[in-house]
Protein backbone atom coordinates (compact mmCIF):
# COMPACT_ATOMS: atom_id res chain seq x y z
CA UNK A 1 0.00 0.00 0.00
CA UNK A 2 2.81 2.31 0.88
CA UNK A 3 4.52 1.49 -2.37
CA UNK A 4 1.39 2.35 -4.31
CA UNK A 5 1.11 5.61 -2.41
CA UNK A 6 4.66 6.66 -3.14
CA UNK A 7 4.15 5.87 -6.77
CA UNK A 8 0.86 7.70 -6.84
CA UNK A 9 2.42 10.80 -5.35
CA UNK A 10 4.76 11.08 -8.26
CA UNK A 11 2.11 10.39 -10.82
CA UNK A 12 -0.03 13.05 -9.17
CA UNK A 13 2.83 15.47 -9.44
CA UNK A 14 2.81 14.81 -13.16
CA UNK A 15 -0.90 15.51 -13.25
CA UNK A 16 -0.35 18.69 -11.28
CA UNK A 17 2.00 19.90 -13.95
CA UNK A 18 -0.49 18.91 -16.59
CA UNK A 19 -3.30 20.72 -14.79
CA UNK A 20 -1.33 23.89 -14.33
CA UNK A 21 -0.30 23.98 -17.93
CA UNK A 22 -3.81 23.19 -19.08
CA UNK A 23 -6.03 25.10 -16.66
CA UNK A 24 -4.52 28.53 -16.99
CA UNK A 25 -7.16 29.96 -14.71
CA UNK A 26 -9.95 28.58 -16.89
CA UNK A 27 -11.69 25.24 -16.66
CA UNK A 28 -10.81 23.98 -20.11
CA UNK A 29 -10.55 20.23 -20.03
CA UNK A 30 -10.21 20.14 -23.76
CA UNK A 31 -7.12 22.28 -23.68
CA UNK A 32 -3.95 20.50 -24.65
CA UNK A 33 -2.06 19.66 -21.49
CA UNK A 34 1.45 18.40 -21.58
CA UNK A 35 4.28 17.71 -19.26
CA UNK A 36 7.85 17.47 -20.34
CA UNK A 37 10.80 15.65 -18.86
CA UNK A 38 8.76 13.97 -16.17
CA UNK A 39 9.63 11.04 -13.94
CA UNK A 40 7.60 8.52 -11.95
CA UNK A 41 9.43 6.49 -9.32
CA UNK A 42 8.33 3.35 -7.53
CA UNK A 43 10.03 2.11 -4.37
CA UNK A 44 10.49 -1.31 -2.85
CA UNK A 45 8.20 -2.10 0.08
CA UNK A 46 9.44 -1.73 3.66
CA UNK A 47 12.03 -2.19 4.97
CA UNK A 48 13.59 -1.17 1.64
CA UNK A 49 11.24 1.74 1.07
CA UNK A 50 14.14 4.07 0.32
CA UNK A 51 15.33 1.83 -2.48
CA UNK A 52 14.11 2.68 -5.96
CA UNK A 53 12.46 -0.26 -7.70
CA UNK A 54 11.70 1.40 -11.01
CA UNK A 55 11.93 4.80 -12.58
CA UNK A 56 9.71 5.68 -15.51
CA UNK A 57 10.56 8.83 -17.42
CA UNK A 58 9.58 10.48 -20.66
CA UNK A 59 10.38 13.47 -22.78
CA UNK A 60 6.73 14.39 -23.01
CA UNK A 61 3.43 13.23 -21.53
CA UNK A 62 -0.08 14.02 -22.65
CA UNK A 63 -3.12 12.96 -20.59
CA UNK A 64 -6.01 10.94 -21.92
CA UNK A 65 -9.27 9.97 -20.27
CA UNK A 66 -9.24 7.20 -17.68
CA UNK A 67 -5.94 8.06 -16.10
CA UNK A 68 -3.92 7.36 -19.22
CA UNK A 69 -0.84 9.24 -20.33
CA UNK A 70 0.65 9.19 -23.79
CA UNK A 71 4.38 9.23 -23.21
CA UNK A 72 6.96 10.09 -25.81
CA UNK A 73 10.51 8.80 -25.55
CA UNK A 74 9.75 6.38 -22.75
CA UNK A 75 12.64 5.27 -20.60
CA UNK A 76 11.94 2.73 -17.90
CA UNK A 77 14.72 1.71 -15.56
CA UNK A 78 14.42 -1.07 -12.99
CA UNK A 79 16.78 -1.70 -10.11
CA UNK A 80 17.72 -4.60 -7.87
CA UNK A 81 17.32 -4.24 -4.13
CA UNK A 82 21.00 -3.41 -3.77
CA UNK A 83 20.51 -0.46 -6.12
CA UNK A 84 22.30 -2.00 -9.07
CA UNK A 85 20.59 -1.55 -12.43
CA UNK A 86 18.43 -4.47 -13.50
CA UNK A 87 17.13 -3.38 -16.88
CA UNK A 88 16.42 -0.42 -19.12
CA UNK A 89 13.44 -0.31 -21.45
CA UNK A 90 13.12 2.35 -24.12
CA UNK A 91 10.29 3.01 -26.56
CA UNK A 92 9.52 5.93 -28.84
CA UNK A 93 5.97 6.11 -27.53
CA UNK A 94 3.62 4.32 -25.18
CA UNK A 95 0.45 4.72 -23.16
CA UNK A 96 0.94 4.67 -19.40
CA UNK A 97 -2.02 3.65 -17.26
CA UNK A 98 -1.60 5.53 -14.00
CA UNK A 99 -4.39 3.57 -12.33
CA UNK A 100 -2.80 0.20 -12.96
CA UNK A 101 0.86 1.16 -13.20
CA UNK A 102 1.18 -0.33 -16.66
CA UNK A 103 2.73 0.89 -19.90
CA UNK A 104 1.81 -0.46 -23.31
CA UNK A 105 2.36 0.25 -26.98
CA UNK A 106 1.92 -1.31 -30.38
CA UNK A 107 5.25 0.16 -31.36
CA UNK A 108 8.86 -0.84 -31.06
CA UNK A 109 10.66 -1.50 -27.79
CA UNK A 110 14.25 -2.06 -26.75
CA UNK A 111 15.36 -3.65 -23.51
CA UNK A 112 18.83 -3.99 -22.08
CA UNK A 113 19.90 -5.73 -18.92
CA UNK A 114 21.73 -3.69 -16.32
CA UNK A 115 25.09 -5.15 -17.23
CA UNK A 116 24.45 -4.80 -20.95
CA UNK A 117 24.89 -8.51 -21.60
CA UNK A 118 21.29 -9.11 -22.67
CA UNK A 119 19.56 -6.96 -25.27
CA UNK A 120 16.01 -7.52 -26.47
CA UNK A 121 13.83 -5.77 -28.99
CA UNK A 122 10.40 -6.36 -30.42
CA UNK A 123 7.13 -4.81 -31.47
CA UNK A 124 4.14 -4.31 -29.23
CA UNK A 125 4.51 -4.57 -25.48
CA UNK A 126 2.85 -4.44 -22.09
CA UNK A 127 4.84 -3.57 -18.99
CA UNK A 128 3.35 -4.10 -15.53
CA UNK A 129 5.24 -2.01 -13.07
CA UNK A 130 4.05 -3.74 -9.89
CA UNK A 131 5.51 -7.14 -10.72
CA UNK A 132 8.12 -6.03 -13.28
CA UNK A 133 6.58 -8.23 -15.95
CA UNK A 134 7.13 -7.36 -19.60
CA UNK A 135 5.28 -8.97 -22.49
CA UNK A 136 6.53 -8.42 -26.03
CA UNK A 137 3.93 -9.46 -28.56
CA UNK A 138 5.76 -9.70 -31.86
CA UNK A 139 9.13 -10.15 -33.55
CA UNK A 140 11.16 -10.73 -30.42
CA UNK A 141 14.90 -10.66 -30.99
CA UNK A 142 17.38 -11.18 -28.16
CA UNK A 143 21.15 -10.98 -28.08
CA UNK A 144 22.80 -12.66 -25.10
CA UNK A 145 26.50 -12.18 -24.48
CA UNK A 146 27.82 -15.50 -23.21
CA UNK A 147 31.54 -14.85 -23.34
CA UNK A 148 33.75 -13.35 -20.66
CA UNK A 149 32.21 -10.42 -18.89
CA UNK A 150 32.56 -7.11 -20.61
CA UNK A 151 32.47 -3.64 -19.24
CA UNK A 152 29.14 -3.03 -20.86
CA UNK A 153 27.10 -0.76 -18.65
CA UNK A 154 24.15 1.53 -18.82
Amino acid sequence: MKMKWSSAVRVLSVFAVLFVSGADGQAQPSAVSRASDFTSVQYYPAPFQRQVKSRLSGAEAQPLAGGLLVIKQLKLETFNMDGSPQSIIEAPECVYDTLHDAASSAGHLQLQSGDGRIRVEGDGFLWRQDNSFLTISNHVHSVIETGPETNARL
Binding site: T78, N80, S84, Q86, S87, L111, S113, G114, D115, R117, I118, V120, G122, N131, S132, F133, L134, T135, I136, S137, N138, H139, V140, H141, S142, V143, I144, E145, T146, G147, P148, E149, T150
Partner: protein, 179 residues
Amino acid sequence: MAVTAGMTARAQPATNAAPKLPRPPTQVDSASGFFDGTGHKAIYSGNVRVDDPDMKLTCEWLVVDLPQSGGRVSHIVAETNVVINGTDSKGQPMRGTGDKAVYDFQVKDSVTNETITLTGNAKVEYAQGWMTGEPIIWNRADNSLSATNQHMVFRQNLNGARADTNAPAATTNKLTTPE
Protein backbone atom coordinates in the same frame (compact mmCIF):
# COMPACT_ATOMS: atom_id res chain seq x y z
CA MET B 1 28.97 -51.25 -20.58
CA ALA B 2 30.66 -48.29 -22.07
CA VAL B 3 30.42 -47.78 -25.78
CA THR B 4 33.02 -45.38 -26.93
CA ALA B 5 32.80 -43.53 -30.10
CA GLY B 6 35.08 -40.81 -30.92
CA MET B 7 33.71 -37.49 -29.90
CA THR B 8 36.96 -36.46 -28.49
CA ALA B 9 37.61 -33.51 -26.32
CA ARG B 10 37.78 -30.11 -27.81
CA ALA B 11 41.09 -28.92 -29.18
CA GLN B 12 43.77 -28.60 -26.57
CA PRO B 13 44.96 -25.09 -25.88
CA ALA B 14 48.00 -24.37 -28.01
CA THR B 15 51.03 -22.66 -26.68
CA ASN B 16 51.81 -19.25 -28.12
CA ALA B 17 48.28 -19.18 -29.43
CA ALA B 18 46.87 -15.95 -30.74
CA PRO B 19 44.68 -14.03 -28.31
CA LYS B 20 41.18 -15.43 -28.12
CA LEU B 21 38.54 -13.54 -29.98
CA PRO B 22 35.44 -12.68 -28.01
CA ARG B 23 32.81 -15.37 -28.23
CA PRO B 24 30.00 -14.27 -30.52
CA PRO B 25 26.74 -13.71 -28.67
CA THR B 26 23.81 -16.10 -28.63
CA GLN B 27 20.77 -14.78 -30.46
CA VAL B 28 17.19 -15.80 -29.75
CA ASP B 29 14.25 -15.02 -32.02
CA SER B 30 10.63 -15.83 -31.33
CA ALA B 31 7.10 -14.78 -32.08
CA SER B 32 6.59 -13.39 -28.58
CA GLY B 33 8.40 -13.07 -25.30
CA PHE B 34 7.75 -12.62 -21.60
CA PHE B 35 10.31 -11.17 -19.23
CA ASP B 36 9.86 -11.62 -15.52
CA GLY B 37 11.98 -9.04 -13.75
CA THR B 38 11.08 -10.41 -10.35
CA GLY B 39 11.66 -14.07 -11.14
CA HIS B 40 14.57 -13.25 -13.43
CA LYS B 41 13.27 -15.34 -16.30
CA ALA B 42 12.94 -14.77 -20.02
CA ILE B 43 10.26 -16.87 -21.70
CA TYR B 44 10.12 -17.13 -25.47
CA SER B 45 7.20 -18.72 -27.27
CA GLY B 46 6.26 -19.48 -30.84
CA ASN B 47 8.77 -20.47 -33.49
CA VAL B 48 11.73 -20.04 -31.16
CA ARG B 49 15.12 -20.04 -32.86
CA VAL B 50 18.39 -19.99 -30.95
CA ASP B 51 21.53 -19.16 -32.88
CA ASP B 52 24.56 -19.99 -30.77
CA PRO B 53 28.17 -20.20 -31.97
CA ASP B 54 28.17 -23.89 -31.05
CA MET B 55 24.70 -24.93 -32.08
CA LYS B 56 21.36 -23.97 -33.48
CA LEU B 57 18.17 -24.83 -31.63
CA THR B 58 14.53 -24.56 -32.54
CA CYS B 59 11.50 -25.21 -30.35
CA GLU B 60 8.16 -23.73 -29.43
CA TRP B 61 8.86 -22.71 -25.84
CA LEU B 62 12.09 -21.59 -24.24
CA VAL B 63 12.66 -20.47 -20.65
CA VAL B 64 15.95 -18.81 -19.78
CA ASP B 65 16.97 -18.22 -16.16
CA LEU B 66 18.62 -14.83 -16.22
CA PRO B 67 21.60 -14.29 -13.97
CA GLN B 68 20.75 -11.77 -11.27
CA SER B 69 24.13 -10.11 -11.08
CA GLY B 70 25.58 -10.52 -14.53
CA GLY B 71 27.58 -13.54 -15.51
CA ARG B 72 26.47 -16.15 -17.94
CA VAL B 73 23.19 -17.95 -18.37
CA SER B 74 23.31 -21.21 -16.44
CA HIS B 75 19.91 -22.83 -16.99
CA ILE B 76 17.71 -23.01 -20.08
CA VAL B 77 14.70 -25.21 -20.76
CA ALA B 78 13.43 -25.79 -24.30
CA GLU B 79 10.14 -27.57 -24.89
CA THR B 80 8.03 -28.90 -27.75
CA ASN B 81 9.53 -30.03 -31.03
CA VAL B 82 13.07 -29.42 -29.85
CA VAL B 83 15.68 -29.71 -32.59
CA ILE B 84 19.37 -29.07 -31.91
CA ASN B 85 21.90 -28.91 -34.72
CA GLY B 86 25.55 -28.85 -33.78
CA THR B 87 28.85 -30.42 -34.64
CA ASP B 88 31.14 -32.82 -32.86
CA SER B 89 34.81 -32.15 -32.23
CA LYS B 90 35.64 -33.27 -35.76
CA GLY B 91 33.22 -30.85 -37.31
CA GLN B 92 30.78 -33.61 -38.19
CA PRO B 93 27.15 -32.60 -37.94
CA MET B 94 25.07 -33.76 -34.98
CA ARG B 95 21.33 -33.43 -34.67
CA GLY B 96 19.41 -33.93 -31.47
CA THR B 97 15.63 -34.06 -31.21
CA GLY B 98 13.21 -34.49 -28.35
CA ASP B 99 10.23 -33.10 -26.53
CA LYS B 100 12.39 -31.28 -24.03
CA ALA B 101 15.99 -30.13 -23.67
CA VAL B 102 17.57 -28.73 -20.53
CA TYR B 103 20.82 -26.81 -20.69
CA ASP B 104 22.87 -26.52 -17.50
CA PHE B 105 26.13 -24.71 -16.94
CA GLN B 106 28.01 -24.67 -13.68
CA VAL B 107 31.56 -24.36 -12.46
CA LYS B 108 32.28 -26.37 -9.33
CA ASP B 109 35.74 -26.76 -7.83
CA SER B 110 37.22 -25.21 -10.96
CA VAL B 111 35.55 -27.87 -13.10
CA THR B 112 33.14 -26.70 -15.77
CA ASN B 113 30.03 -28.79 -16.31
CA GLU B 114 28.03 -27.90 -19.37
CA THR B 115 25.35 -30.35 -20.41
CA ILE B 116 22.24 -30.60 -22.55
CA THR B 117 19.75 -33.23 -21.42
CA LEU B 118 17.28 -34.43 -24.03
CA THR B 119 14.09 -36.23 -22.98
CA GLY B 120 10.84 -37.27 -24.60
CA ASN B 121 11.48 -39.29 -27.74
CA ALA B 122 15.07 -38.20 -27.45
CA LYS B 123 17.29 -39.01 -30.41
CA VAL B 124 20.70 -37.91 -31.58
CA GLU B 125 21.89 -38.43 -35.11
CA TYR B 126 25.51 -38.11 -36.09
CA ALA B 127 27.76 -39.01 -38.96
CA GLN B 128 28.22 -42.62 -37.90
CA GLY B 129 24.68 -43.43 -36.87
CA TRP B 130 22.07 -42.49 -34.38
CA MET B 131 21.06 -43.23 -30.83
CA THR B 132 17.97 -42.99 -28.70
CA GLY B 133 17.65 -43.00 -24.93
CA GLU B 134 15.82 -41.52 -21.97
CA PRO B 135 17.48 -39.24 -21.28
CA ILE B 136 20.35 -38.50 -23.62
CA ILE B 137 22.95 -36.26 -22.05
CA TRP B 138 25.23 -34.27 -24.30
CA ASN B 139 28.28 -33.17 -22.34
CA ARG B 140 29.48 -30.08 -24.09
CA ALA B 141 32.76 -29.98 -22.19
CA ASP B 142 34.09 -33.03 -24.01
CA ASN B 143 31.38 -33.45 -26.64
CA SER B 144 30.45 -36.90 -25.36
CA LEU B 145 26.99 -38.43 -25.31
CA SER B 146 25.58 -40.69 -22.64
CA ALA B 147 22.15 -42.21 -22.35
CA THR B 148 19.97 -44.38 -20.21
CA ASN B 149 17.96 -47.12 -21.89
CA GLN B 150 20.15 -46.56 -24.85
CA HIS B 151 19.63 -47.87 -28.35
CA MET B 152 22.33 -47.24 -30.90
CA VAL B 153 22.52 -47.84 -34.61
CA PHE B 154 25.74 -47.41 -36.55
CA ARG B 155 25.52 -46.71 -40.22
CA GLN B 156 27.33 -49.27 -42.31
CA ASN B 157 30.47 -47.82 -43.78
CA LEU B 158 32.09 -48.77 -47.08
CA ASN B 159 34.07 -51.54 -45.41
CA GLY B 160 30.92 -53.04 -44.01
CA ALA B 161 32.34 -52.81 -40.54
CA ARG B 162 29.18 -52.07 -38.57
CA ALA B 163 25.52 -51.99 -39.02
CA ASP B 164 22.66 -52.03 -36.56
CA THR B 165 24.69 -52.47 -33.44
CA ASN B 166 22.35 -52.16 -30.58
CA ALA B 167 23.44 -51.46 -27.07
CA PRO B 168 21.81 -53.37 -24.25
CA ALA B 169 18.76 -51.75 -22.80
CA ALA B 170 18.56 -50.18 -19.35
CA THR B 171 22.16 -49.14 -19.14
CA THR B 172 23.90 -45.86 -19.06
CA ASN B 173 26.44 -45.69 -21.80
CA LYS B 174 28.86 -43.12 -22.98
CA LEU B 175 29.26 -42.65 -26.67
CA THR B 176 32.30 -41.90 -28.67
CA THR B 177 32.24 -42.27 -32.40
CA PRO B 178 34.46 -44.86 -34.11
CA GLU B 179 37.71 -43.64 -35.61
